[in-house]
Every structure is written in structure tokens, then in C-alpha cells.
């Protein structure tokens, strides 16, 4: 065996303990408390998604009182989310379905854990509940061309 200084043994022990603690913390919060990451939802054809299916007429749909789904299309040139504005009453739970018709985009909704890559060919799904009134911008977080910095929308909670 190799010689390891006693301080270094302590240091290694401390490192291993930290790694176990960190892994447990993210595992428990992720799989038991539901603070989860995006995962596969559906595959679509980016060349036809704007013409047929749920993304042909994007926007908010009410499933039940205070329970909504929102279909959003991310598009470059002009750089826009469609729709750009969504309004829901306070206390609503909204499930977002977002896809791209051209290049890669991002979708980050301020004030929530919603932060997802938007890829042509994939549907990204995220859910959040809005208990505070206000305006929350959702912004494109992936470079998608020279208009990238102008690509954003607004969620209004009333």
C-alpha cells in the first residue's frame, strides 16, 4: 500500500462524506420532493409542427379552473415566442409545452425553476404554479441568430 499522511486521510474522508451528502441532497430533492429536470415528452417533425397539431395554434388552453396548458412555438427570424403574452389568474398551475420550428432555442421563466433547452424535433414540458401576482418574462437562453437578444415573452399573473 502507498503511504498516506494522516491529515490527508482526514481530508479524503471529508471529501467522500461531502460527495455522499451532495448526491443525497440532489437525489432526495429531485426524486422525493419533485424538483425535477426536463425529460422526454414527445418527438415532432420541425418542418410541419407549425402547420398541424397542437403547435399550429399555440396559446393557453384551460383544462379546469386554474389549471392550464400552454403551447409555445420558438422561432427565429423574426425572433419570437408565439404567443408572446400569456395571462393566468393567481394560483394557477400551468404546464408549458414548447418546441422550435428552426434552430435551437432556450426557455427560462423568471421566478420559477423552469429552464429548458428548446430543440427542433423535441417537445419540452415543464409545469409551475403561480401564487404571486406580477409579470414574469420568459426569455430565450440559447444563441439562435442575430436577433436572439430580442426574443422574449411575458407571463402575466393577475
Amino acid at each position: 500500500m502507498i503511504h498516506v499522511h494522516v491529515y490527508e486521510k482526514w481530508w479524503i474522508g471529508l471529501t467522500v462524506a461531502m460527495l455522499i451528502a451532495f448526491s443525497l441532497a440532489i437525489g432526495v430533492s429531485g426524486f422525493m420532493m419533485g424538483i425535477q429536470l426536463p425529460s422526454p415528452e414527445a418527438l415532432v417533425n420541425p418542418n410541419t409542427v407549425a402547420k398541424q397539431g397542437d403547435f399550429a395554434n399555440p396559446g393557453l388552453k384551460e383544462l379546469a379552473p386554474k389549471k392550464y396548458v400552454a403551447y409555445i412555438r420558438a422561432e427565429a427570424n423574426p425572433w419570437k415566442f408565439r404567443p408572446e403574452k400569456i395571462e393566468v389568474p393567481v394560483g394557477s398551475t400551468v404546464t408549458f409545452y414548447v418546441t422550435a420550428v428552426d434552430v435551437q432555442h432556450g426557455f427560462k421563466l423568471e421566478g420559477t425553476n423552469i429552464n429548458v433547452q428548446i430543440l427542433p424535433g423535441q417537445v419540452s414540458k415543464m409545469t409551475a404554479t403561480f401564487n404571486q401576482k406580477g409579470e414574469f418574462p420568459f426569455v430565450c437562453t440559447e444563441f439562435c441568430g442575430v436577433g436572439h437578444q430580442n426574443m422574449f415573452g411575458k407571463l402575466i399573473v393577475k
Binding site: E8, S29, G121
Partner: protein
Amino acid sequence: MNTFAVERKIAGWHIFVAIFALSLGILFGPLQAWEHMGWNTYPALQAVGLQSYYQGLTLHGVLNALVWTTFFITGFLTYVVAKSLNRGMTFPKLSWAAFFVMVIGLVMAAIPLLLNLATVLYTMYPPLQAPWYYYLGLTLVVVGSWMSGWSMLLTWNAWRKDNKGATTPFLALASLISMVLWQICTLGIASEILVLILPWSLGLVPGIDVQLSRTLFWFTGHPLVYFWLLPAYVSWYGMMPKQAGGKLFSEPLARLAFWLFLLLSTPLGFHHQYVDPGIPEGWKFLHAVLTLSVFFPSMLTAFNVVASLENGGRARGGTGLLMWIRSLPWGDPSFTAQSLAMIVFAFGGVGGVINASYNVNLVIHNTAWVPGHFHTTVGTGVTLTFIGILYWLIPHFTGKALWGRKWALWQAWLWTIGVAIFSQGLHRLGLLGAPRRTMLGVATDNYGTPEWLFPRLMTGLGGTIMLISFCVFLLVVIKTMRNKETAQVEMPVAEALHHETIPAWLNNWQPWLVGAVVLILIAYGPMLVQSIAQLQMTSPGFNGLW
């Protein structure tokens, strides 16, 4: 005595191209920082052919993160392997061929970059589409770097035959591990370009699978950072203790750290894809745990390197719990630059644990936090270390004394102060929700808040200080090259503190290579099979968006 004239020449040319690329690439850095502050210089720069912020950003990323690092590393390690084995390259022509392949690749990639035909950022995410020769050029840079690695491995193989049963010296082993890690992990980007991107950018197939191309990119994209980092560790472990007047605290554990990097660096790329829609949570979590496990060799390094420096500080007469730090050679620019790089890198490591942490990452993913992070790691931990290495290497190669020791010291401190302010600004902006890779000066008017103002100013100020620091570095290099004063500067080689026999498992490639391949198969195999089974070659290319 072998003077390694051939290896000096090979390494010298690599390093010349590296510094040239860095000098050009770094010029764009402050332009980005100033834009964040609200001063957009790009419209004025259209007169010199620079079309947009994003063209500048692409040049900055490619030249600094890919070209400067790869050329410096292949050149530096070629020389270190030769010196450490006390043996010239067995096939110097292979090393030269490698260099020319890399240069041809660089020129092929540089032309479309400068003509604003390849403004796809250094991640070149499809379906943004650059001309096919841009991708081919980048491929040649990688292939050339492989050939450099083969030349080092063949030299080591010849050494081994003449030294049967001998333990490979630490500096050579650590350098070879860095190059082998690179060979393994670049299989991802090589298959992305050769199988997916080239046929598609040549128009042979109409569409590309965007999700799969991202997975293959990040197969290489994260181990890439260890390819940058390990040559810095070569210096921290194998050279800096000598510069500090001490010895390497634990050579066996230094070797163990390198083997663990070889084992663990690749099967963890999904942490760059935590928010990708096409990868299930379970696989992301597995990669999260594997990413955290790389924290282990990093912590081994933190202890061992600091203990070695303490050994130096005490050998120089330092005493007390911490007062030995004052006895370190703070008047030596090479030592100081690398020590400061280490301190900044430690903060980068802590931030890296946050990035790695699965769902905590949601707060900062794709935000300005991320460039804030990697300017403390590759931008300083690695780059300032390489600059520190150059402060002994240029005099060592040229026989000329380092010009302006005080200027060089100022350079290191200014860089550290600059990056501290700059990265603070970007980390804060990220926490406030500002996206990365974005003209934040413009975005502020769209969706920013007044809270963004102060960190935007920090970014601009810090970036300016870093530019000044870099100008000082160039001054020192040019003045040293023209210096009439001569000096005999040796390559620092640290001795081990304890002369222990290195056990066989720390001198044997097989278990670590097999382990690395097995881990890659477990972490990537099933997802890759599934992606190929449901291949979606549907995305046409877009080349008119910039």
C-alpha cells in the same frame, strides 16, 4: 547531453501559434464585456469587416478555448515528455506532420469565421450551419492533436523497451495520460462531425438529428475541460513545488489523481444537457453523481499541491500555521501567476459543484453565470497557469533573460483582480436571470431589471483590466524575445518528498483504461442505442440567421 533542439523547435512553433491565437481571440473579450456595460462597439467595427457581436463571440470562443489551449498543450507536453524521459521524439517527423495538420485545419476554420460565414459559436450547435470546410478544419485540428499524442506515445514505447520494468517518470506519465484522455473523449466530436455534420453540411442528406448531435458534442465537451486542466496540473504537481523551493508531497497520490481523471472524465457529459428534453432524468442523475465523483481527484490535488507548496515555504524559512505562505517566492512571476491561477481556480471548482448539482443547476443553466464560471477555470486556472509556464519556458527555450520581472508580476496580479471583478459580475447577472451568449446591453432594455446595472458595470470594468493585463503580457514576451541579456533557465522538475516505490497499479494503464471504457459504455451506451433507434434526421440547416 541532449539539448532537445528538435523538440524545442516543435514546441516553440506550437506555442507561437497558440500565443498568436490568444492575442487575436482575447481582443474580442473586452468588446463583449463593454457591450454588457452598454457600450456596443460592433457597429463601428463593421468598417473593418466585423459584422456582429456574435461573430466576435464565436472568434473569442474558438480562438481562446480551442486554438490557444490545443496548440499550447500539444507543444508543451511534447517537450515535457521528451525532457522527462530524457529522450528525443522517436519520430519527430510525426510531430511536425501533426503541427502542419493542425495549422491547415486552423486556416480552413479561420477563413469562414473571419468572413462571418461560421457565426455558430464554439459549440456549433446544429441546425445552425457553417460551410462544410469549417467543420473539416476543426476536425483537422483535432486529428493533428491526436498525431502529436501518438508521437509522444511512440516515444514512450521506445523508452519502455530500453527501460524494462522501470516506473515511468511522473511528468511523462501525467502528460501521456492527458493525451490519452483526449484520444478517448474526442471520439464524440469526431463522430458528430464525420457522421452527422459533414454529410449534412455538404448537402448529401437533407436533415440532422439535433438532440443526438448535442449528446455527441458534450461527450467531448466536458472532458475537453480536463484536457485543458491536466497540463496545468502537470505544472502544479510536477514543477511548481520545485519553483517554491520544495518537493512534491505525495507522488503516489499525484499519480492516482491523474489515473482517476482518465477513468472519470468522460462518462459525465449529460451535466451540460441537464435541461435537454430528449434525455431521461435517471441518466441525468447518473451523470450528476459521476460528475461529483470527479470532485474527488480535484480535492486530492488541492491537498497535495498546497502541501507541496507548504513544504517549499517551510524550506525557505517560513513558520507558523499559515505564515509560511509569506515565504513563498512571490517575486517570481512564474510562481506567482500559477499560484494566483490556483486560487481563482478554487473558486471555479466550488461554482462547478453547483453547476454539477442536477436540479440546483436549473437556477443558473444557460445564464451569464456559466461564462462567469469558465473564466475562473479555463480563462484563469488554465490560461494564467500557461502564462506562468511561459515565464520560465521562453527564457529556457531562447536563452534570453525574462524582461521586466516587475511587469510580469503586475500582469499576474492585474489578471487576477480583473477576472475577480469580471466573473463576479457575470455570476451575479446569471443569478438575476440574464442569459449567456446574449447581447445583454440590448437585452436589458427588453427584459432586464435595474438590479442588472451594477454587475453589468463590473463585467465591463473587469474585462478592461484583463485586457490591460494581457497587453502587459505581450509586452513582456516581445521584450524578452528581443532581450540582449542572456540567462540559463532550467525546466523546473520537482522531486518527490518521500522516495517510495510506486506500486504496480499506479504504473499500469490497463485497469484504468478498461475501467474508463466500461464506465463510458454504462453511462452512454443505452442512451446512444436508443437515440440511434429513433434517429430523427429532420432538421435542415440554417445559415442566414447572422
